[in-house]
């Protein structure tokens, strides 16, 4: 009997307080009934047989979970809305972190490329933790209050089949991740080009040579169009023919500027006094050229990809 008492106590510990006494009382009655049945079959029951019976019933935690299954923090009905909100907010925070750290870097804070990346990552994680916790708690509260109200999936009450977008290829869907990484890159580029104008009092000089900076400043309207396009993508989330054509034009402009800058040498205006000894000017120039080659290759890839999509659509 002591073994049964210990088993019941172990199950009790895993149960919520308000149901603890009731469930354990009933569980005990059921176990004793099974032992009685064994006794009436065999005459007596050994400790080993009671232990076997309890083993068959299962681990105390498993039994407790069968009686009181855990409630998910966010209900299945709210899960799609929860994930969408989470991705949107984290995407915006990533863009803000990129802008903030780029501002600090351009404002004179000494940091290598690695430190710059680490800065974006830690700034994003710091605000991301807070956002994740807040959103999750908010949806957990909503889940509790909605539990008895409706079984309908949130955000699906007002829709009509006529307003659904046309069925298209799988590539037509634009992921939030792509949109936010594009936005962060474009904002980074804008800050890189225009930072000295934003902070005229700090005396900060542009990192680009005069010729490169002139080209990039003329290129800014294209970046603005690309940013507006990304924001529009947030609204539609589907590639259309017009959007593909605009993207080809933007990618072509990026390709032209990358090739144009590659032909200029040097592209960067490097302050030799500030420069750390181990980083030679040649290495930095070569890195800049590598970045430009990569940008040109990505732009070429996007032109080919979008042209093929345009032809097939």
């Amino acid at each position: 009997m002591d073994m049964v008492e210990r088993y019941i106590a172990a199950v009790q510990r895993e149960l919520p307080e308000k149901k603890r006494d009731d469930i354990s009382r009933e569980l005990k009655a059921n176990i004793l009934d099974q032992i009685d049945a064994l006794e009436s079959q065999q005459g007596s029951v050994s400790d080993a047989e009671v232990a076997e019976l309890l083993k068959v019933m299962g681990h105390p935690r498993k039994v407790a979970l069968q009686f009181c299954p855990p409630t998910p923090l966010v209900t299945a009905q709210l899960m799609p809305l929860y994930l969408h909100t989470l991705y949107m907010v984290l995407g915006v925070l990533f863009v803000i972190s990129t802008v903030e750290i780029t501002g600090r870097w351009l404002g004179g804070a000494e940091m290598s490329l690695l430190l710059f990346m680490k800065g974006i990552a830690s700034d994003f994680l710091a605000s991301g933790y807070f956002a994740f916790t807040t959103i999750t708690i908010g949806f957990a509260v909503m889940s509790r209050s909605r539990k008895k109200e409706t079984a309908e999936v949130a955000g699906t009450c007002k829709w009509s089949p006529e307003k659904l977008p046309a069925a298209g290829k799988s590539w037509q869907h634009i992921s939030l991740q792509n949109i936010f990484s594009d936005l962060a890159t474009l904002l980074f580029l804008v800050m890189l080009i225009w930072y000295p104008l934003w902070q005229p009092d700090s005396g900060t000089q542009s990192i680009f040579t005069e010729q490169a900076l002139t080209i990039l400043r003329w290129f800014t309207p294209v970046i603005a169009i690309a940013m507006a396009h990304s924001l529009w993508q947030l609204r539609t989330r589907l590639w259309t023919r017009n959007m593909l054509m605009l993207n080809i034009a933007v990618s072509a402009a990026f390709l032209l500027v990358s090739v144009g800058l590659l032909m200029l040498s040097p592209v960067l205006q490097i302050n030799v006094e500030v420069l750390r000894e181990e980083l030679g000017i040649a290495i930095i120039e070569r890195s800049a050229q590598t970045v430009l080659v990569a940008a040109a290759l990505i732009a070429t890839y996007e032109i080919v990809r979008d042209a093929r999509r345009l032809i097939r659509s």
């Binding site: 009655a29 059921n30 039994v63």
Partner: protein, 116 residues
């Protein structure tokens, strides 16, 4: 080879049917163990880990009434269909009969086609 998917499908298939079997058995009052024995006797094998929480859930939903009673020197919780449970069992029985009469011939037809 196909044991895992089969077990999963069997579990899904049995889940709803077990509710019906339990409700039908609780037209008469039963405590947990006696209910399990009655179901086993009728050919419905159900383990304790499934049956006892299921009865409590049905009671929480208002389909069963429960009462602690002393019997054979020990207390036991007896369950029986509530008024709501009786109504629901009637509707579920109709649903079951209608499904059974639709699916039965469908399964038989497929078996016959395989044999030919």
């Amino acid at each position: 080879m196909a044991t895992a998917p089969l077990d999963k499908l069997k579990l899904e298939l049995r889940r709803g049917v077990l509710v019906l079997a339990v409700l039908a058995s609780l037209r008469e009052p039963h405590y947990g163990y006696s209910l399990r024995k009655q179901l086993q006797g009728a050919g419905v094998d159900i383990d304790e880990g499934t049956l006892y929480p299921l009865i409590r859930r049905l009671a929480d939903q208002g389909l069963l009434d429960s009462e602690w009673k002393q019997g054979e020197g020990r207390e036991r919780r007896y369950y029986q269909l509530s008024t709501l449970g009786v109504e629901l069992l009637e509707q579920l029985t109709q649903e079951w009969t209608s499904l059974n009469s639709a699916i039965g011939p469908l399964l038989l037809r497929n078996t016959n086609e395989e044999q030919h």
